[in-house]
């Protein structure tokens, strides 16, 4: 039997893989730097938590996590994707602060800063939950691979390279950008649902910028527009965290050393492999 430590680690690996893949779809493949990506994860987490706490079966709650994140993501996308470059990023960054404010202040729904404890498990056995997250992450991998190699995926990539040229070739770039964000937020919502059933708790810190920085690190190190890169990026981060856990003797140093190590790796990758390890496009 696998050691409990690795079961937990792999479970988180598979959950983060879905998050990074979904972020890669919007950022790496479509060129939309959605800085508010963790908002969709958080919406998924809160949705699944609230529904299961109110007796809704987990499979409906998990699906609803994806759907609600997707609906909200699509509405936001429909309004914001016309914004170009930095403006889109500023607006999506603002979404993080709106999400934090709403989750802290809508106390009747979210219990504010106290969060929602006691979110039920989907599967009692941690080992089977790890397998469950693995199956879902493999499904997400296959889906993103299939999508990015389909005609729709090629249009996403064309928009990333040159939106005007894509429109001139008869493609409704607005529709495809909204579609890309809708799919991306759906997957992120599912990952949020999986996350909340893993830790049985959710609070407004799920929206924190720090969470997003970790996702960004995984994506950039692995490389944009590369599925292999997403897998490697998530793997490297987990490997680094685990390694430091064993190498750093004093527990109070683990956090700062981890942050410095992440920064160092990011710098080295950006200097020597500016596209990331497996990246296909410039950051």
């Amino acid at each position: 039997m696998i050691h409990e430590f690795f079961i937990q680690d792999f479970t988180w690996f598979f959950i983060y893989l879905i998050i990074v893949l979904s972020f890669n779809l919007a950022f790496g493949f479509t060129g939309m730097v959605n800085l508010g990506h963790m908002v969709s994860v958080g919406i998924g987490a809160y949705t699944s938590a609230l529904l299961t706490l109110n007796g809704v079966p987990w499979y409906i709650a998990l699906l609803a996590a994806g759907i609600i994140a997707c609906v909200i993501g699509t509405i936001i996308a429909a309004i914001t994707v016309r914004l170009k470059g930095d403006y889109f990023q500023i607006v999506t960054l603002g979404l993080i602060f709106i999400a934090i404010a709403v989750s802290r202040n809508w106390i009747s729904l979210t219990r504010g800063a106290l969060g929602l404890p006691g979110v039920p498990d989907i599967i009692r056995s941690n080992f089977y939950y790890m397998l469950f997250t693995m199956v879902l992450s493999l499904m997400a991998l296959w889906f993103v691979y299939w999508l990015t190699n389909s005609e729709t995926g090629k249009i996403f990539q064309a928009i990333r390279d040159d939106e005007t040229a894509t429109a001139i070739l008869g493609k409704n770039t607005y529709f495809y950008k909204v579609l890309s964000l809708a799919i991306s937020t759906f997957l992120a919502g599912i990952a949020g649902g999986l996350m909340v059933h893993q830790i049985n708790f959710v609070d407004p810190s799920i929206f924190d910028l720090e969470q997003f920085i970790i996702i960004l690190f995984m994506l950039i190190v692995g490389g944009l527009a590369s599925i292999k890169g997403s897998i490697l990026g998530v793997f490297l981060l987990f490997a680094l965290i685990d390694l430091l856990r064993f190498l750093v003797v004093r527990p109070e140093l683990i956090g700062p050393v981890r942050q410095m190590a992440l920064l160092l790796i990011l710098l080295l990758v950006l200097i020597y492999r500016p596209k990331g390890i497996f990246g296909k496009v410039d950051i």
Partner: protein, 247 residues
């Protein structure tokens, strides 16, 4: 057939023509206080090569952007055969049958040649190779477009525009930044396209190129049509020379 118009060389009024593909009627476009296009009217004949020329700032690229839907006109009408396309978004105008290239090439640099062509049309490898052969670009389909030289990227952009189902091919300075050999190839390519029934609207600064391949030349100055006619007449026209060289 719609009533289509043509500017008379002698009177400057609009003459009805039956074989026009594109009608650009009284179009105005200002950017702030600058009138980039000022009541411009012309038509493009079916199965012709028509060149738009004029000094810098004459409004040529703005006209191209209006025709292709990247810029909305303040006033005026644009018709492509039976359909009015004024103010439609770029993708709808492309679907209506206008295919264009840009002054600075816009290929999808991170994608392969195959994927570049695939965005234009869901074509077989054979079709794609023959589209590339038409522009004398003999490169593997799996090669990244970003690895092509600038001139080759321009040829790819033209191949992409030609591959699309289109009624009008609008090329914005196709010879800009390309070597003399490709420039000569482009002449042959455009003539070949015309022989195959294509209609080409061209912006070009290379006068030798324009005079060599155009059936008709439209001279623009300060956002207006200054002259329109056969290349041999345009090249001798006093007003045109003044617009280019000053009085």
């Amino acid at each position: 057939m719609l009533s289509l118009w043509k500017v008379s060389k002698t009177s400057g009024v609009f003459e009805h023509t039956k074989n026009s593909l594109l009608e650009f009627f009284s179009v105005c476009k200002s950017f702030g206080g600058v009138k980039a296009v000022d009541g411009c009217t012309f038509s493009v004949g079916n199965n012709t090569i028509t060149s738009l020329i004029g000094p810098n700032g004459a409004g040529k690229t703005t006209i191209f952007n209006i025709i292709s839907g990247l810029t909305k006109p303040d006033y005026g009408k644009i018709k492509l055969l039976d359909s009015e396309i004024t103010g439609l978004p770029a993708y709808k105008i492309a679907q209506a049958g206008i295919s264009r290239t840009f002054q600075l090439t816009k290929v999808f640099r991170n994608m392969t040649i195959r994927d570049n062509l695939l965005i234009a049309k869901k074509a077989s490898d054979g079709e794609m190779k023959s589209a590339l052969a038409r522009v004398h670009l003999h490169k593997p389909l799996d090669m990244a477009a970003g690895e092509l030289s600038y001139g080759q990227q321009r040829l790819l952009e033209i191949a992409r525009a030609v591959l699309r189902e289109h009624k009008l091919l609008a090329l914005d300075e196709p010879t800009a930044g390309v070597n003399p050999q490709i420039r000569q190839e482009l002449k042959a390519i455009l003539r070949g396209l015309k022989e195959k029934g294509n209609t080409v609207l061209l912006i070009e600064h290379d006068m030798e190129f324009v005079m060599n391949i155009s059936d008709e030349v439209i001279v623009l100055n300060e956002g207006r049509v200054l002259k329109r006619g056969k290349p041999q007449d345009i090249v001798k026209d006093k007003e045109v020379l003044e617009a280019y060289l000053g009085k």
